[in-house]
Amino acid sequence: MKIIFQTKKLNIEEVLKSFSSQNSSSGAVISFLGKVRPSRNKKKIKSMDIEIYEKMALYQTKLAIKNLLKKFNIHDYFIMHRYGNLKPGENIIFLIVASEHRKEGFQFIQEILFYFKKKITFWKKENYIQSSKWLDSQN
């Protein structure tokens, strides 16, 4: 039951290892890793700046989790989101969830992602060779 927003790189193997062994009695452990892509519309991405309104991001994440735990029977979760300046291939977000059965784990993790796309206060700017662009929100 952990939420971490940090500027340093996400050490996902360590997290997977310890999370999985801490939840050895869960039948299903599902993870999602989102990374900075190398290009957009054939434009090379030099780096990505991720901005956070940290206080609100934490508040909104907890709110989202609280709602989701009413709907899904989840044993444990770990949410990591990076901010600051990232290079292509680097990890932006790592979500991991342990549950009795796979179905609720898949639903939970996809709903968390949905909140990150809609409610949780992070913003991404892609820096290309000659320009920069704040990303538009997705539907």
């Binding site: 991720i50 309104y53 609100m56 977000i93 949780i120 206060t121 538009d136 929100s137 997705q138």
Partner: protein, 83 residues
């Protein structure tokens, strides 16, 4: 009252916060009107209100008619793009 700006709005205005004092209860819309008087950058930043989200004390507001008090923390930002 603390007012925070994020992402593109912060970039246009050129700073990430303002502190203002209000002596009576106002709506968020009133605050925006006040801010737009400061200079052109604010006017530009708040031009397209449809694409601006606002929170009061970390809660999203549904309408710019929502009232704010002097000890509230307000934030203006574009739709989020995390995940």
């Amino acid at each position: 009252m603390k007012i925070f700006y994020f992402a593109k709005i912060k970039e246009i205005i050129g700073k990430n916060e303002d502190i203002i004092n209000i002596d009576k209860q106002m709506t968020v819309g009133d605050i925006v009107k006040m801010l737009k008087l400061i200079d052109e950058s604010y006017e530009l930043a708040f031009k397209d209100l449809k694409n601006i989200k606002c929170s009061i004390n970390c809660n999203y507001i549904n309408s710019f008619q929502t009232k704010v008090k002097n000890n509230d923390e307000i934030a203006f930002f574009p739709p989020v793009t995390g995940g």
